[in-house]
């Protein structure tokens, strides 16, 4: 079997999407931690277009962009499928993945800004969460994937673990107490799953890291 390598960075939710998919499918892999302030020549060679993590290298051939990687993994290793088999349901799953890709950055904008820009980001993020609650999770069971985690759950994993850290550091609360009951339940269910639970960055470490980085971002803005 050809080797699988994953170039990632521990603070990155995008790296974790790939880790979760690899663990779910039981695919053995070598993990290479990248220091994003000093990227390795290998990373730059494998991802010349974006110079970002994650990058999956399978048999020496690189694949970039986390959701492209996930679709590749699903095609090469069909066990524990990430996508449903029915074309219409696949289209629905991909729709929510894209929704997350398009709107997710608003949560990170809350983290990267302050004042009016942050307020706008907060409104955008709330809109995203409202749509997820009312259209995405409405009528669903435990997960977007039904009884089991699928590609949509993995795509939104950042919300389950990283968003709370951003809320804590910035003081901007998004998931207020009695709002978003379906989302709250989903976040809880998601983190209870063993292969997710065992593969999450340490929360204290995250708070310290992101807090320091936010100071740097704001002071250089």
């Amino acid at each position: 079997m050809e080797t699988v390598k994953l170039y990632g960075a521990w603070p990155s939710p995008f790296s974790y999407r790939v880790i979760w998919a690899l663990k779910l499918k039981g695919i053995p892999f070598e993990y290479i931690e990248e220091d994003l302030s000093s990227k390795s020549p290998q990373l730059l060679q494998y991802n010349p277009v974006y110079e970002k993590v994650p990058v999956l290298v399978h048999g020496g051939r690189p694949i970039c962009e986390s959701m492209v990687i996930l679709e590749y993994l699903d095609e090469k290793w069909p066990q524990q499928p990430l996508l449903p088999s029915d074309p219409y349901k696949r289209a629905e799953a991909r729709f929510w993945v894209k929704f997350g890709e398009d709107r997710g950055p608003s949560v990170w904008m809350i983290y990267r800004t302050e004042g009016e820009k942050q307020e706008k980001a907060r409104r955008d993020a709330l809109e995203m969460l409202t749509i997820l609650e009312e259209h995405g999770l409405n009528g669903k069971k435990k997960f977007f994937g039904g009884d089991n985690i699928n590609i949509v759950d993995i795509a939104f994993g950042g919300i389950a673990h990283w968003m709370g850290v951003i809320e804590e550091i910035t003081g901007v609360k998004l998931i207020e107490d009695n709002k978003f009951p379906l989302l709250k339940a989903w976040m809880h269910n998601f983190k209870e799953v063993s292969f997710i639970n065992e593969n999450l960055p340490n929360r204290e470490k995250m708070v310290a890291f992101f807090r320091a980085r936010r100071s740097m971002i704001l002071s250089s803005a």
Binding site: I63, E65, V68, Y72, E75, P87, Y88, R90, A91, R94
Partner: protein
Amino acid sequence: MSEKEVVLLDFWPSPFGMRLRIALAEKGIDYEYKEEDLWNKSPLLLKSNPVHKKIPVLIHKGKPVCESLIALQYVEEVWPHKSPLLPSDPYARARARFWADYIDKKLYDLGRRTWATKGEEQEAAKKEFLDSLKLLEAELGDKPYFGGDKFGFVDAVLIPYYSWFYTYETCGNFSIEADCPKLIFWAKRCLEKESVKKSLPPQEKVYGFVLELKKRLGLL
């Protein structure tokens, strides 16, 4: 209600709609084309795409599929034997998805800024836009199509932007061919295909539409 199994809610200048027109034509799928007035969206559009309220929407047997790249993959999966646009090898498919995603991340917004902005912002957009096209040109290399010997997924995703080139060039006062001659060569090769020819509006018509749009938005 339509009698046809496939309905496409679209807007004639939309590059996102064009790629679906191309795919449906390539696969010889009969469908009903419905032109939407984006300033007066139909109840069918609002019902079919409640989250984004955008075109294109592909409706198949009454069920809507939104987002053009997703609908493109849907068409591939439902009609896999007719003129497949995606290769069968998973690695080649991953590369096609990567480049389709790149095209959509960059070209629409940068292209828009070449016609909708002025001064420094426009100059920056023009430069970035050309840089993106040059990267795509390098990816094309010596192949006749992005798909290799045959017109494929990335070709279908990119070629609609060609119908906007005259608009970008005229509004932005620059020449795409000067920087990316191979890409223009590729575009003309694609336009020899019936499915592409009938799916793309004339470049001058798009330009006329954008002039009207600029007036409407107070950008003239």
